[in-house]
């Protein structure tokens, strides 16, 4: 039947509809509404359980890697001497236009005209759910199955920089010399795999800000620091759900 023929038809009117038809129509409408309402009610329920109320530190024994490398940053000790940055540049051959780790600065008034200056060292957080790894089209960046370090395979990198956009911590840069994205790997190739116990930045820090360690080693300083019950430990941008492995605290 063509549209012109429809126009010629006489309007039957709603009052002549059989009640069976009305019921079927209403039932259909209710079913559709039910699906949407049910869906939105379900989506209001948190997918995570109450663990999020326990802070960002994973429960003892819940570390997926062995050793599970971590860095604890005692933020209020940082004085921005930038020895960590210099050591990182030397150790990992970082060009002047990029960084594997840097220090952010914030100044704020804390009342009565008193100003507080805060230095915040940042680096790759070696997330348990790394957004950069998820978006990489060539698996050039990957989560090391043993140590949990987020690593780079420079040969596979096509330089699309999607990982740089995905990283919640701005911890990646494009290294022209490699024609690939470069990032912190906890000095795995330059130090840790050669038997050193500390990363270059951690070893260079004069104030004990950066504590590199293994979360599965309950005797390690890093483990002890973040499991002190009287201390507040936080991570950066927890809302991303990336589950970072760099923890921050004030000493």
């Amino acid at each position: 039947m063509k549209i012109d023929d429809f126009e010629k038809l006489e309007n039957e009117g709603a009052e002549s509809l059989p009640s069976e038809e009305r019921r079927r129509f209403l039932r259909f409408g209710l079913a559709v509404t039910g699906v949407f309402v049910g869906g939105s009610v379900l989506s209001l329920t948190s997918a995570r359980n109450a663990e999020s109320a326990m802070g960002p530190v994973p429960a003892s024994g819940a570390f997926p890697y062995s050793p599970h490398y971590t860095m604890v940053i005692r933020q209020n000790r940082c004085i921005d001497c930038e020895r960590c940055m210099d050591a990182c540049v030397k150790t990992n051959n970082v060009p002047s236009y990029g960084y594997r780790t840097t220090i952010l600065q914030q100044e704020r008034e804390i009342g009565n005209g008193v100003k507080e200056r805060v230095f915040m060292p940042v680096l790759c957080n070696h997330c348990n759910r790394p957004p950069c790894v998820r978006v990489c089209p060539t698996t050039a960046t990957y989560k090391d199955k043993k140590t949990g370090i987020v690593m780079m395979d420079y040969k596979r990198c096509i330089g699309c920089k999607t990982c740089m956009a995905a990283c919640p911590y701005n911890a990646r840069y494009f290294k022209e010399e490699n024609r690939a994205v470069d990032k912190c790997n906890f000095c795995f190739d330059t130090r840790i795999s050669k038997g050193e116990s500390k990363t270059a930045c951690s070893a260079a820090c004069p104030a004990g800000v950066r504590i590199f360690g293994d979360l599965t080693d309950y005797g390690s300083e890093a483990y002890k620091l973040i499991h002190k019950p009287e201390k507040v430990v936080w991570v950066l941008r927890p809302e991303t759900g990336a589950m970072p492995n760099v923890f921050y605290m004030n000493d």
């Binding site: 209020n76 000790r77 940082c78 004085i79 921005d80 001497c81 930038e82 020895r83 002047s96 236009y97 220090i103 600065q105 507080e116 200056r117 805060v118 230095f119 701005n170 004069p206 104030a207």
Partner: protein
Amino acid sequence: MKRNNKSVMTIVGLAAVIGLLVSSSLSFGEEAYDEDTYGPKAPILWTKPVKGVAFYHKTHTMDAGLSCDNCHDKIFEMAAGTAEQKADFTMASLYKGKYCGTCHDGQMAFASNTRCATCHVGVKGYNKLTGAAPQGKAEGKH
């Protein structure tokens, strides 16, 4: 149109008055700080053993009420940069009551093992105070 011109003139006039007030109060503040009484206005910047620490005479003399001979020459020599040439110019010495630690002991002034970034302005603070450009970092490039 006429009214518009008038309101523009009023705004310009107001801005000029405010500007005058602000600049006069600023210049008044500058005049009140006498370098002979309170010490050099520019901060003393230390780069050893770590870069960089800023010391402001104003905070200690004009604001806190210390006189020159409270620190000079027993704790610090008059010539800037003398202390940092010494090997014991470290935080450990401060904790033992030397140099800044003479007063910064938690009794007279905040203890020298607290509030690190109050005096430690860092490389960023040093560059800002000396007007040096941050090394190697291209502005706005991410």
